[in-house]
């Protein structure tokens, strides 16, 4: 296994995930029966380029966090391959794992649970410096932590306080400073602002943007708030029930979504403007709820809720099709080779809704 330095080839993607599957046994099967499996991630492909923010979106339980944890190599892979910085990390040895713990960092959703309440901020932020022996003297260590505090907009005198003395937004800054300490090349942010009030969210969003600009950071940004994702992410991966349904840059994803699920998702977001003309764009076109990943529907995972579903969709899972450069969609509707099997008198969204009701 060779380790290539991240600065040697910036045109190659920083992270490449292919055919990723993560299945969890639900509970041990009785009398030797095979355990039921939760197919949390069930065939996911994406790449992350140097210096970009890639968004991972989708509704609760679609496998976003599990994907993040798999990339961090904190959960075993069932199948698939992860290449980070030119190195296959699908089955890392101890030394590789140690190096990854430094090169990839995580920022968590819950700024209250993620910090050790008995540690001072100085040592919370400094822990990666100690673990990876990145500073030699106590003075250097303290100076480095002061730098990090300053970077994230906290005051030097806060170093000696404990987490409970900070507000939610401040704790999230502490979490970010800690993630920066080891100078990682990839930061995985799992819902970093969703626990914060609107007025505080913007502070953290701006901080993440500034850090990326100043330090050239790469983010994998997991979130369900599509307005936040549009603001922060250059490209977006939409997941549904453990699979990727659409990948596009933000302009195309928000202006011309192709997958029926992406359309439904975007149509269901209430827009913060009471103007009737703008409200007319609101179109919550799907009924029902996301099925369980324990017993996912056969064929296309979206077919039970999709207004365009055909016999083919119920039988066969669609493969991702490139509809334009950098825009791929996993839906039979967009596969020219399946066109004949997809023609049927389509009920309108409204008719569909009435049928379900």
């Amino acid at each position: 296994m060779t380790h290539t330095d991240s600065h040697t080839d910036v045109t190659a993607p920083l992270l490449q995930v292919s055919g990723l599957k993560v299945h969890f046994p639900l509970r041990p099967g009785l009398f030797g029966k095979p355990a039921a499996m939760v197919k949390a991630v069930d065939g996911v492909d994406f790449t992350v380029h140097h210096g970009e923010t890639l968004g991972l979106v989708g509704e609760s339980g679609c496998g976003k966090s599990t994907t993040g944890l798999a990339v961090l190599r904190m959960t075993p892979l069932t199948e698939g391959r992860i290449v980070f910085d030119g190195e296959d990390i699908s089955h890392p040895d101890a030394a590789t794992t140690k190096r990854l713990r430094r090169k990839m960092q995580m920022v968590y959703q819950d700024p209250f649970g993620a910090l050790n309440p008995r540690m001072r901020v100085l040592d919370i932020i400094g822990e990666p410096l100690r673990v990876h022996r990145l500073t030699r003297t106590r003075t250097e260590y303290r100076a480095r932590v002061m730098d990090l505090l300053d970077r994230v907009g906290l005051k030097a005198e806060m170093a000696d306080r404990y987490p409970h003395e900070f507000s939610g937004g401040q704790r999230q800054r502490i979490g970010i400073a800690r993630a920066l300490a080891a100078e990682p090349s990839l930061i995985i942010c799992d819902e970093p602002v969703s626990a914060l009030d609107v007025s505080i969210q913007a502070q953290v969003i701006n901080l993440l943007e500034d850090l990326q600009r100043d330090l050239g950071l790469t983010y994998l940004f997991v979130a369900h708030d599509l307005a936040v994702v549009r603001h922060l992410c250059h490209r977006i991966v939409v997941m549904y029930l453990g699979r990727v349904v659409e990948v596009a840059d933000r302009e195309r994803l928000y202006q011309a979504p192709r997958h029926p699920y992406t359309r439904a998702l975007l149509g269901a977001i209430p827009i913060a403007d009471p103007d009737p003309e703008i409200q007319a764009r609101f179109n919550p076109s799907v009924d029902g709820e996301v099925p369980s990943p324990i017993d996912p529907p056969p064929g296309c995972p979206f077919h039970p809720r999709c207004p365009h579903a055909t016999e083919l969709c119920r039988r066969e899972a669609p493969r991702p099709i490139d509809v334009e450069d950098g825009h791929s969609v996993a839906c039979h509707l967009h596969d020219p080779s399946r066109a004949t099997e997809m023609t049927h008198p389509e009920p309108s969204y409204q008719e569909q809704a009435r049928n379900i009701a």
């Binding site: 609107v198 007025s199 549009r230 603001h231 933000r250 703008i278």
Partner: protein
């Protein structure tokens, strides 16, 4: 300029006939006793709910939205909480003066409440049918022999498929969205005149949230009821609210029609909220303008205007004197010393 107390006179001669008032809250105050002093969770709050309208209450976490709603129905845990002042006028009677029996009659029959967490508000060991029948039984709204029929009708109304089967299900056998629909069905059971919905969809996915909010709005409209919608989601507010109260640190700081609040906000906090929120129709690359600092600690609130430590328009006066809620025009009110215009 009018002040809060002149509201009644102003409403006696309305220009474009607002709907009649269903519920009026006057100078409500609710406190919590804590080791380090009193928390003024709801501090001199006044507003009314009109017939047939959706009235929203928005504000950050801890600003007093839920405690306001719970105070109306006297659901404040006491101790440590206590309503220490004000009136809640409904049908000419003050709900805060009623006997415990009388307020219990009002709850669920005339005014019902739908909470955020369906799992904690449904009893996990009782079948859905039993729980749905409870308000009908308590208030005797339908004859005994018709209860099951009414339950089925309610489940159909909230679009739960296969209602006969669902009557026998336990809460854990239903999805989050279905449990929330059951909560709504319970809230609607006795055709209340006012529904208080406290973050009714916050725990749900956006596609499910849309289904449920549309449903809730359609049903309240069909029943000609009013709804008090509590949320921190400005998108939800823009879509469903007729009028909006913006709360900050236990007080209403701005009130207006949805158009007023979104297109001509006049309180610096509301202006700040609008600028700090990423929007789906922003220009890409737009920088957000956050509100600096964080919400105040209500056991030690700032002097004067509660927003002054975070306000970019603050003046020396703001630290000393608290601005009253004053009327700007027919529907638009604000509590701020400074006169902002559209350029901010």
């Amino acid at each position: 300029m009018f002040t809060e107390t002149s509201m009644a006179t102003a409403e006696a001669a309305p220009r474009n006939e607002p709907a009649p008032t269903l519920l009026r809250v006057e100078n409500l105050r609710t406190v919590f006793e804590k080791d380090d002093g009193l928390v003024h969770a709801v501090n001199d709050v006044s507003f009314d709910v009109r017939r047939g309208e959706v009235l929203a209450i928005v504000g950050e976490s801890g600003s007093g939205k839920s405690i306001t709603a719970m105070s109306l129905l006297r659901l404040i845990p006491s101790p440590p909480g206590q309503i220490i002042g004000g009136q809640v006028l409904f049908d000419g009677q003050d709900l805060l003066d009623l006997s415990d029996d009388a307020i219990r009659q009002i709850r669920g029959r005339d005014i019902s409440m739908i909470f955020q967490e369906p799992m904690t508000s449904l009893n996990p060991s009782l079948r859905i049918g039993r729980q749905l029948a409870e308000p009908l039984r308590v208030h005797g709204s339908v004859p005994k022999g018709k209860v099951r029929e009414r339950c089925l009708e309610l489940l159909r109304q909230v679009r739960i498929g296969d209602p006969e089967k669902r009557l026998d299900a336990y809460p854990h056998e239903l999805s989050g969205g279905m449990r929330q629909r059951v909560m709504i069905a319970m809230g609607l059971a006795c055709l209340p005149r006012l529904i208080i919905a406290d973050e009714p969809t916050t725990a749900l996915d956006v596609t499910v949230q849309a289904q449920i909010l549309e449903l809730l709005r359609d049903i309240t409209r069909a029943n000609q009821s009013s709804m008090m919608l509590i949320t921190h989601d400005l998108g939800v507010v823009a879509r469903y609210a007729d009028r909006i109260n913006v709360m900050y640190a236990g007080r209403i700081v701005e009130r207006g029609t949805a158009h007023d609040i979104f297109h001509r906000p006049r309180h610096p906090y509301t202006v700040g909220l609008m600028a700090s929120m990423p929007r789906l129709d922003d220009a890409i690359g737009n920088r957000l303008t956050p509100i600096p600092g964080s919400p105040p600690d209500l056991s030690d609130p700032p002097s004067g205007c509660p927003f002054h430590p975070r306000c970019r328009f603050a003046q020396p006066r703001c630290k000393q004197e608290r601005p009253p809620l004053e009327r700007l025009d027919e529907e638009h009110w604000k509590a701020c010393w400074v006169n902002l215009d559209d350029t901010h």
